[in-house]
């Protein structure tokens, strides 16, 4: 049985492999190629060596958006996961309407980023109007606005993953821990969370990469205003690409660096949390 499956291995891998090559490998190789060129249309390019990378280094807005993105990602990973976990714990208790609440919490995730961005822009501007200011007044409003938005959107999704994890904790384990005299906090700390490690891995991975790649919501909520100070990496790349004639290559160079950063962080994070899983 096992051998038959093993022989069919290429058949199973093929669709994913093709999708991966078409959807990732080819664009990435092309992207790296283009980042060394000056171009308007991708089929008509001129080699410029590291020129685009040199220009990129001289662009202060890129460095600013990099740090802004890092800060945003740290805050959003923490808040989203903490809240999602708390809500998941709560909704795992059996009470009337728990399932309804799960559905409701999950729903924001089904709305597209641009739409969400505009909706929250209206809501937050409506609130800020009390103090006669707007989201674009200062970068900090844009920052916290985006944090609120992302929390609202992603908590439900992460919550579902945590709920699935919590449900899979064997009741015998919890019972025996209780008999051994573990309080509810100790049970959570020493039984539930260790078993939840896989869920934690996937949730931090998702929120981390989502934070780094964030584009739609950023574009819709503040558009980088005031003066690019709330511009995140992806938006910065987009603006570089279309903001100046002849700077498409620089945008491409930024995109290559961006991919490397995101991939590196994701790998490090996966490696770190996975190794903890194995300790168990």
């Amino acid at each position: 049985m096992k051998r038959t499956v093993r022989r069919a291995f290429p058949l199973f891998v093929l669709p994913t492999l093709v999708a991966f090559i078409v959807g990732f490998i080819i664009p990435f190789v092309m992207g790296v190629y283009l980042s060394f060129h000056k171009f308007t249309v991708v089929t008509n390019t001129k080699f410029v060596g590291f020129g685009n990378y040199v220009k990129m280094m001289g662009d202060q807005s890129f460095v600013h958006s990099l740090w802004y993105t890092v800060l945003f990602t740290i805050v959003s990973v923490i808040t989203i996961n903490v809240f999602a976990f708390i809500i998941a714990l709560f909704l795992c208790k059996v009470f009337k309407g728990a399932k309804l609440f799960r559905t409701i919490f999950f729903m924001p995730n089904l709305i597209g980023g641009i739409v969400l961005g505009y909706i929250w822009q209206i809501i937050l501007n409506g609130i800020l109007a009390h103090w006669n200011i707007t989201l674009q007044y200062d970068a900090k409003y844009g920052f916290w606005g985006l944090i609120i938005l992302m929390n609202w959107q992603q908590i439900g999704y992460m919550m579902i993953i945590y709920i699935a994890g919590i449900m899979s904790v064997p009741t015998e384990l919890l019972e025996s821990a209780m008999i051994d005299g573990a309080g509810s906090f100790e049970r959570l700390k020493s039984v539930v969370i260790p078993i939840l490690r896989p869920s934690i891995t996937i949730c931090t991975f998702l929120t981390l990469t989502n934070g780094f790649k964030l584009f739609d919501q950023n574009l819709a909520l503040t558009g980088g205003e005031p003066a690019k100070s709330s511009e995140m990496l992806a938006l910065n790349i987009y603006n570089t690409f279309y903001g100046r004639v002849g700077w498409q290559g620089v945008g491409q160079a930024k995109a290559v660096i961006f991919t490397i950063i995101v991939a590196a962080i994701a790998f490090i994070q996966l490696y770190a949390t996975r190794s903890k899983e194995e300790q168990m």
Binding site: T40, T134, Y137, I202, P226, A227
Partner: protein, 450 residues
């Protein structure tokens, strides 16, 4: 098992997001298959104006019916034309007809523009409309097909009401021929706003992305225009900002004598401004001939209630200044297309400006003013604001040309817009605006020319 289920779900969700969000409107002329007309050449027009999408599809169908030539029209979503054009041009079946927005756009697409000087379309251009072409040396790279005009639109009914109040500064809007008078009138209207039943003299100067082009591009044209006039230039590597004090005056006026607290401008949209003006809550509104449909019609103002003033900023000799007239829509033929396709495209363009169907669509359905000699009689525009613009020219006023097309990059406009918003909100000073204007020009020029 649960874990597996989760991962399957996750994969599914990821796959979904990959496919979501890439939709693009496209349809080709009916009754034509690619195979049938492959010999005679095809036309593929990448249209810039979403509001004219239907009219173009219609025209394409009619032309295919008449001649059998396949015409495909694709319209880019609002604000994504450059993006769309960039990706379409990379395809083997690239657009044969596309648009650029002026000299800076031409700079980007020069390698793709055919010399149109021998075309029938060019021969149909009226005398004196040479400025509505884009040239590179002797070559005609682009031909404008829609000429537009902007200024300060005003509500005649409200203005008449104002002139009858006691101590009104002017008896008629014709008396406004300088910034000083405009400011006096606007200040006076602002102070009498409750008597007049309005919220402010000027409709809100929204700095949201839907509206900020009115100030970072159109209003910025005036200081650029006057500097070019003074220096005898048509474009420059480095702007001096000689008329920035005047730019400040007019911007101050817009945000002070307004319906809205200047701190809130960043969230105000073009719809806010349209709404206020079309319901009679503001007297003045800086916009152009294209905005007629937004401010006049059912439940809005009547067409004969609309007047238009030049944008006076306080420059010397502005008594003779007219409205700002120019074009941002130039047709270009893709020089990399096959000869058959190019010929088909030229034939199609010629048909558009000479046939009844084409002229009707351009002049009446889309409401454009064109520089072509074939648009006479029934095909002259009915747009009330265009008529006003023509009167200014007939009265000997000098139209202000659209020099914003020489702005070095989008980046420059965006930075200027941010600086204007911050200045209005009080979080930035005017120095930042000057810096974005003058230093930004040099930086952006250097960044895009090397």
């Amino acid at each position: 098992m649960k874990k597996k289920l989760v991962s399957v779900l996750l994969c599914g969700a990821m796959a979904m997001t990959m496919f979501a969000g890439c939709g693009m409107k496209s349809s080709s002329g009916s009754g034509s298959s690619a195979a049938k007309s492959s010999k005679s050449g095809k036309v593929y027009y990448l249209n810039f104006k979403p509001e004219a999408e239907e009219a173009w599809q219609d025209l394409a169908k009619k032309y295919t019916k008449e001649t059998g030539t396949e015409v495909k029209v694709v319209t880019a979503a609002s604000g994504t034309y450059e993006q769309q054009l960039t990706s379409e041009m990379a395809k083997s079946d690239a657009p044969t007809l596309f648009q650029v927005n002026g000299p800076v756009g031409l700079n980007n697409w020069k390698d793709y523009c055919d010399d149109m000087s021998g075309s029938e379309l060019y021969k149909h251009m009226k005398k004196g409309t040479e400025s509505f072409t884009l040239t590179d040396g002797d070559k005609v790279m682009g031909i404008a097909y829609a000429i537009e005009t902007y200024g300060i639109i005003y509500n005649k009914t409200l203005f008449d009401k104002y002139t009858k109040t006691s101590g009104a500064v002017v008896k008629s809007a014709d008396e406004i021929n300088s910034f000083d008078t405009l400011k006096k009138v606007a200040d006076d209207i602002q102070s009498k706003k409750s008597d007049l039943g309005i919220d402010g003299a000027f409709s809100v100067a929204g700095m949201d992305g839907s509206s900020d082009w009115r100030f970072k591009t159109h209003l910025a044209n005036l200081p650029i225009y006057y500097e070019y006039q003074k220096e005898g230039e048509t474009s420059t590597e480095a702007i001096k900002g000689e008329y920035l004090d005047q730019y400040k005056q007019i911007w101050d006026l817009y945000i002070t004598d307004s319906t809205c607290d200047p701190k809130l401008l960043s969230s105000k949209t073009i719809d806010d401004a349209n709404g206020e003006f079309s319901t009679g809550k503001a007297v003045f509104y800086q916009n152009g001939t294209w905005a007629v449909g937004d401010v006049a019609g059912d439940g809005k103002l009547k067409e004969d209630e609309l007047g238009m003033l030049p944008i006076y900023i306080g420059a010397e000799g502005e008594e003779n200044q007219g409205l700002c007239t120019g074009s941002e829509n130039y047709w270009c033929v893709n020089t990399k297309a096959s000869d058959a396709d190019k010929q088909a495209t030229y034939d199609f363009l010629n048909w558009v400006v000479t046939s009844d169907a084409g002229r009707d669509a351009l002049a009446n359905t889309m409401g454009f003013v064109t520089p072509f000699d074939t648009f006479t009689g029934d095909y002259e525009t009915k747009n009330p604001l265009v008529k006003i613009a023509n009167e200014y020219v007939a009265n000997g006023k000098t139209p202000v040309s659209w020099n914003f097309a020489t702005i070095p990059s989008e980046e420059w406009k965006n930075n200027l817009g941010s600086a204007l918003t911050s200045y209005a909100a009080g979080t930035g000073d005017w120095k930042a605006v000057t810096k974005a204007f003058v230093d930004g020009w040099a930086t952006e020029y250097a960044a895009t020319h090397e």
